[in-house]
Amino acid sequence: MANSGEAAKAVAWRDPNARAYVEIDRVTKSFGDFKAVDDVSLKIYKGEIFCLLGASGCGKTTLLRILGGFETPTSGRILIDGEDMTGVPPYERPVNMMFQSYALFPHMNVEQNVAFGLKQDGVPRGEIAERVATMLELVKLGGFAKRKPHQLSGGQRQRVALARSLVKRPKVLLLDEPLGALDKKLREHTQFELIGLQDKLGVTFLVVTHDQEEAMTLATRIGVMDHGEIVQAGTPSEIYEFPSSKFVADFVGSVNIFEGKLLEDEPEHVRIGSEELGATIYVSHGISAAPEAVVWAAIRPEKIFMSIAPPPSTGVAGDNVVRGAVQDIAYLGDLSIYLVKLATGKVVRVTQPNTSRHAEAITWEQQVYLSWDASSPVVVTR
């Protein structure tokens, strides 16, 4: 579902004339000497699910709270649907927030919680009842209208919080770790529900999460944050396959990073010599870096092939092949993770799908060959 949505909306952020629905314009937020958000500019388009992804303390929640009106930026401004939000208090913004703790009112039942915002806006009573009922039906809580929050499970509370923030039909819904408090199975299920709901209602979502898997499933685009800055923004596959830095490569998914020096720098290929790896890496695309510069080659574990017999040469002889001994194996059912120790001492992470039930068993201490395609490594300069 995410992918179809992505395809349909992909136009917006590639089109230079598209109008941003949410525009974050050079926003900085300092607490004393500490810059929680550091000169962030970002454009989010109508109907997107944009995920701010980062470790705790990277400033993503502060940025979300600035959008909600709970924090005032030290400098910069926020535009929502063309309107400057500077000085507009939370209760007058066309956005709603789903809090990480859900923040359900404990003295009100589900229905009263959901109706709260509509009542506050002076919506006629009949319309409130109708909209609340529709919304509760939509989040599959039709039979729970009279329950108090403490009588609900975590998943149900999450859906009440979602209904309460969506019922006002905000222009943008801000979600702070929306699935953080749910267990894994429920989380996966809810992710897809959330995407379905967003598709149906067409509300623009801005999600904050530290969980890269969550971001990958939900997002049309991801903004990776570190130390108050957005280090890379792009579609989930762009972030995963074309990380712009060691940090992004490492933060999103797992990756093997090899430090090396540029030996050959041609427009259509580069060759990197890595002492760490004890071999040369041949990459079938050019990069922009100074000659002799220190660079890093990032290779995803699933893009490394492991074999007992020497692999058929993948590039120029000697490139992209190393030997090592299997140090550890983690069997996950659908795939296995192997930690292979190279002669240099470097440990490489390799994943292989368990396609056959009676596969040729690679076992502990076994000598194996590791190889990869010349298109697999991503070369980053920082």
């Binding site: 939370p90 309460r164 923030s165």
Partner: protein
């Protein structure tokens, strides 16, 4: 089950002892005196020491007569003084409670929202007056409020007034004294309640369209209901029977039931009537105490 170690028996009796001791204490120092007062309230007055006649009397050779005198209670309802004093006490206690609430709520709220360091200091300041005797503190108010006292002198010096305000021995002075003395009893339970509040609820309310004062009215106030009730009861219940403050600050016409009780006991030596007043006061307050208990039970249930 047969294999229970012998020590477990000792454990049970030890536990029993722990429970028994406070009950013994209550029986000795609450139930016994209460029964004595109850007994006196049904006796006749006598010019003797103690100044009442026994309930049980040997009549003739072998019969023991119980003589219950209900006149003491009937007297309280026939003389308008007592009814008036009861009603006035309730009125004074009620007004004091409302005043304490108006002053104490913002204070408790402020402490609950302060930083942890400031919070401890502020709580200490609330508790600090307890380190001095109540009587001394009430006497200090006399020094502040009297005609040539601190407040009048300051106001005169500032030119705000041209002759001293008559504050001491007025209802105003009495309310100042009661509110001042009982304020901590309201602030502390209310603070304990507000301190547990999830302040993010207020952000959620604002996010859904509430102005800050609306969020306070719709979220904070209903959620602190139990704290308000508990604190109010802790002020109201003792304030109804308050004697010292009205006697020292309130002047001759501050007619409160505690004062009447004192007069009956010590000036008139009418112990039976005084006991009847005490019993009626207790009966009047029992519903409030039960209410307070149920609020406390609810509060601890919601904390779980």
């Amino acid at each position: 089950m047969r294999l229970l170690p012998p020590s477990s028996k000792v454990g049970i009796s030890g536990r029993g002892l722990v429970v028994t001791l406070p009950y013994l204490w209550l029986v000795l120092f609450f139930v016994v005196p209460f029964v004595i007062v109850l007994k006196i309230s049904f006796s006749d007055v006598d010019l003797a020491i103690p100044p009442y006649k026994p309930l049980l009397e040997w009549v003739g050779q072998n019969s023991l007569a119980i003589k219950l005198n209900f006149n003491n209670y009937a007297f309280l309802f026939t003389d308008p003084l007592y009814v008036h004093a009861f009603l006035n006490s309730v009125k004074v206690a009620f007004i004091s409670t409302v005043l304490c609430l108006l002053i104490g709520y913002p204070v408790a709220y402020g402490i609950a929202r302060a930083t942890p360091t400031a919070r401890n200091l502020l709580l200490l300041l609330v508790i600090l007056p307890f380190w001095t005797s109540l009587l001394l503190r009430v006497y200090a108010w006399i020094g502040l409020l009297k005609a040539n006292g601190v407040i009048n002198n300051v106001l005169l010096a500032l030119g705000a007034i041209h002759e001293p305000l008559n504050m001491l021995y007025t209802p105003f002075a009495m309310y100042v004294g009661i509110v001042y003395s009982y304020l901590p009893f309201l602030i502390l339970p209310l603070y304990a309640n507000l301190e547990k509040m999830d302040w993010q609820l207020l952000e959620a309310a604002e996010d859904l369209g509430c102005r800050p004062w609306q969020a306070f009215y719709k979220i904070t106030l209903p959620l602190s209901r139990n704290g308000i009730l508990a604190g109010s009861m802790l002020v109201f219940i003792p304030a109804v029977g308050e004697f010292v403050i009205p006697a020292l600050l309130g002047g001759p016409n501050a007619l409160m039931i505690g004062r009447v009780l004192w007069d009956e006991f010590f000036s008139n030596r009418a112990w039976p009537v005084a006991s009847a007043v005490a019993i009626l006061l207790l009966i009047l307050l029992v519903p409030f105490m039960m209410w307070y208990q149920s609020v406390q039970a609810r509060e601890s249930a919601s904390a779980r």
